[in-house]
């Protein structure tokens, strides 16, 4: 059981990451350039199975359920390290200025506009199966 504790997806880490990773903190981490934004290039998905996040802009376009772009999400929150991937924390969605928060991406629901309640957005269907 100790292993299970060690490797349990750490929601607490996700919370810390959500707080720590903001456009401001990104700029502070590399003050020589403003945050970048853009789509994930195919080259980021490497043939060896790794994700090369150095090829991914700091902020990625985010889509709502209908496929409309609603803003941008942080690369580091959208593509967490595996040890932090169990976080159920909503990801902030920023406007084009990468500063104004326009809503959030909620696991299991998708985009929730700022000011709306998560319960107003229906959860989407997720299927599970044993021994696929």
């Amino acid at each position: 059981m100790e292993d299970r504790k060690i490797y349990r997806w750490a929601a607490a880490l996700g919370v810390a990451a959500a707080i720590a990773i903001t456009p401001l903190s990104l700029a502070a981490a590399d003050s020589s350039r403003p945050p970048t934004k853009g789509r994930v290039p195919a080259a980021a998905f490497q043939a060896n199975g790794n994700l090369d996040k150095s090829k991914v802009p700091d902020f990625i376009p985010a889509l709502d359920r209908a496929g409309n772009q609603v803003g941008y999400v942080s690369r580091d929150l959208a593509m967490p390290d595996p040890s932090e991937a169990g976080s159920e924390v909503p990801i902030p969605v920023y406007a084009d200025d990468l500063t104004t928060i326009v809503g959030s991406m909620m696991p299991g629901r998708g985009f929730v506009p700022r000011g709306a309640r998560a319960s107003d957005v229906p959860s989407f269907v997720v299927r599970t199966s044993e021994n696929p």
């Binding site: 059981m1 292993d3 299970r4 060690i6 490797y7 349990r8 997806w9 853009g38 789509r39 994930v40 290039p41 195919a42 998905f45 060896n48 199975g49 994700l51 990625i60 376009p61 985010a62 889509l63 359920r65 209908a66 496929g67 772009q69 999400v73 959208a78 593509m79 595996p82 040890s83 991937a85 169990g86 159920e88 991406m105 696991p107 299991g108 629901r109 998708g110 985009f111 989407f124 269907v125 997720v126 299927r127 599970t128 199966s129 044993e130 021994n131 696929p132």
Partner: protein, 124 residues
């Protein structure tokens, strides 16, 4: 260990990500003793878990909650249509995160794996 195309590179476990018809994103977690084939062993209920993130044309769609197995089993799959699928040509990616826990000396492991597919094969 030689890792088959589209499979995760985690020794002694198998994580797979995929996309099937109508842009259904999925991730599999399996406990095969050697990579993605051979004898699998059951682990306790709640010891396999996964979540799926979808990308369409390089944009972030949605992510599922992390869902865990509810029975003793050797394999668990989580799938969802997390991206819209309008007519025309798109490029879809799945990034699946998985977790496998164990009581034994192997310990547990957490990892991710990805897969991709382009439309119009997704549009029927």
């Amino acid at each position: 260990m030689t890792v088959p195309s589209g499979y995760g590179s985690l020794a002694d476990y198998c994580f797979r990500a995929g996309i099937v018809d109508t842009a259904s994103n999925r991730v599999d977690m399996q406990t095969h003793a050697s990579g993605c084939s051979g004898t699998a062993r059951n682990v306790k209920s709640g010891y396999l878990g996964g979540k799926v993130t979808g990308y369409r044309d390089g944009a972030y769609c949605e992510v599922t909650n992390a869902l865990y197995s509810n029975t003793a089993t050797w394999g668990w799959q989580v799938s969802s249509n997390v991206c819209s699928n309008p007519s025309g040509t798109q490029e879809f990616y799945t990034v699946g995160y998985g977790a496998i826990y164990s009581d034994g000396s192997r310990g547990g492991t957490v990892g991710y794996v990805w897969s991709w597919r382009t439309s119009p094969s997704q549009n029927y």
